[in-house]
């Protein structure tokens, strides 16, 4: 017979169940208790995506290589533009990996609530783990892409101490992706219409993000005093900072701060909205 639970020395876990949102302290306690669930969710995500395929998890490596290959093929004929001396394919791919992480995380997060509703109806777990695990599940693809870009960059003769900027640029990409993913998780969970709309929204956003064109080109289309608007887009500054780390100064770095500001704002809005919608999901799912 198991007597160990009587002799446990640590103070037993105490939970209060009341109306209203859980206090933040409770949320934290749950995070700690359920932390290993993140790993299970990531594993489940991969299994769903690659489970039925022959090549399985190899796709995680093949996909970024494929998109890199397609992009360089597409842009190899086009040389440098607007005074950028970087090989254009490299320029595009370096923007593409951040963008594709950002947009996949955001569009896929909008469907999470629907995918997990059978579980949510039956068991309690921290719902915030759903968008977090989605980000983690997409991370390997991003890292493979990053690896390819770094090799390409060094091979093309770039890279200097400037690469230290990556220490800021990479967390920035993650954070801006998370802020928008969280927002689309909270909204997409409650309004399915948004799920239909999101792909179009991201298609539009793609053209407003400096992925396949340079800041200079876009900047020249706008009067100087309006150029900052482009960097209200959280991922735009993150991508430019990333390029800054690889190739050195290409764009006014202070604009990255603007993107960071809007990232933080979206994060706060996302968290607040999530807390509000979560309470509704409990009763209405």
């Amino acid at each position: 017979m198991n007597k160990s639970i009587h002799t446990r020395e640590e103070k037993p876990l105490e939970r209060i169940i009341e109306a209203g949102r859980s206090p933040l302290k409770q949320v934290w306690v749950d995070f700690v208790q359920y932390k290993d669930l993140l790993r299970s969710f990531v594993h489940r995500d991969w299994k769903v995506r690659y489970g039925q395929t022959r090549l399985g998890w190899l796709w995680m490596f093949i996909q970024p290589i494929l998109s890199a290959a397609i992009l360089s093929l597409l842009f190899s004929r086009i040389g440098s533009r607007d005074g950028i001396e970087i090989p254009f394919p490299l320029y595009v791919i370096s923007g593409w990996i951040g963008w594709s992480f950002f947009s996949s995380a955001s569009t896929q997060s909008s469907q999470l609530l629907q995918q997990y509703q059978a579980i949510i109806r039956k068991v309690f777990f921290p719902k915030l783990f759903l968008p977090i695990s989605k980000l983690l599940a997409l991370l390997p693809e991003f890292l493979v892409g990053l690896f390819l870009v770094l090799i390409y960059t060094l091979w093309s003769g770039y890279g200097s101490w400037n690469l230290l900027w990556l220490l800021l640029a990479l967390p920035f990409i993650l954070l801006s992706s998370f802020s928008v993913a969280l927002l689309s998780f909270a909204i997409g969970g409650s309004y399915r219409d948004i799920q239909q709309l999101l792909p179009y929204f991201f298609q539009m956003l793609f053209f407003l993000t400096p992925v396949a064109y340079s800041w200079g080109l876009f900047g020249s289309a706008l009067p100087p005093e309006w150029q900052f608007v482009v960097y209200l887009n959280p991922i735009a500054g993150a991508i430019e900072l990333f390029r800054h780390a690889l190739f050195g100064a290409l764009f006014p770095i202070q604009y990255a701060l603007l993107s960071f500001g809007s990232t933080m704002l979206l994060l706060l809005v996302g968290l607040a909205l999530f807390r509000k919608e979560e309470a509704r999901w409990m009763d209405e799912l």
Binding site: P12, A118, D193
Partner: protein
Amino acid sequence: MKRIEVEGIGKRYERNARREDLLMKRFFSAGSKKEEFWALKDISFQLKEGETLGIIGSNGSGKSTLLKILSRVSKPTEGRAKLIGRVAPLLEVGTGFHPDLSGRENIFLNGTLLGMPRASVLQKLDEIIDFSGIESFIDTPVKQYSSGMYVRLAFAVAAHLDSEIVLVDEVLAVGDLAFQAKCLNKMQELSQSGRAVLLVTHHLESLNRLCDSALWLDGGRMRDFGAADAVSARYRAEMMLRAKEIPAEQRSDRRGTGDIQLKKLQLLDEEGKEIQELEVGTLAQFALHIHSPHLQLDQLQNLRIQLNLFSENERFIGCYDSNMDLEQSRMPLPIELKTDLQSMHLIPGEYALVARLLINGKPADRLESALSFRVLPNARTSEFRRGGMHWELNWKKSEL
């Protein structure tokens, strides 16, 4: 030491307040009035370690809502509950299993979903696999499992959680008899090892066997709270009474179009006398009165009578259906109908009938517990408890 303290918990739902997925609907329905109802109201009780509390009540009495609140799937509207210790919910088994994952992978997914650290799942892995008894399939995707195997694995995970509080919902009704017995033993072991166990059940037998005390919920309110055997006896008595005391025609808890209604349903013995008990294998007949309460109809065609049979623990046993002859005949209303004298083909136990009258295939009247009766053992049968079919077959010697 107290493990669960519930004080004045209440839960209000808004009827028709299912998620409004369409933006349009949400905008336009902003001003519309919603009907509110309390699924739970003024629920208070305490549970100490080593105790097992059973919760009984008919469908819709608030049992699952209470369990949802205690397992934090849902929030109460008012009141407060305190849980001291880790909680292991054995709710619907297999929740969170993913069909493409193997049994072993699902153990990890399920264990962590119930709040267990990965390390302790790993530590108990052998014990869990051993308990489930499906060792040889543990690396097969669970989509290839039979439903029995699925349930075994799920129960095994949940039963091996490190916890001080266990919440159980109906898991006992699944799996084969041997595995059910194993589950019962495991539950007994859990409460003897000092855990506080809360068990929601329809099954009065397991209530009496496993629980110290019982809480009877009726329409979201606490109807009775006390020693398990006393509460379950009162519960059983009331359930039988509901069917017997209130004449069918006075009951309002019915569904269907209402064009015709069941006025009376009786079980008669060979002499035509009304009975509530009969021995296995004796002959009896059903008698039934149908009328049209608002006199919409004075005659009737295409009638079908279905008597759905449930055992004492509300498990569906089968259906006594009417044949085509009835559907083809034209009848005046009101009318009394009788079946032939025949065996009920049931093993000993308590049974209740849900009566359904259909006209042209559409439900005109549906009445729960329209009739309840008991089948008694005879010299040749033993005392079964769960309810089920009993058929005596004719065997003839065949010439070789």
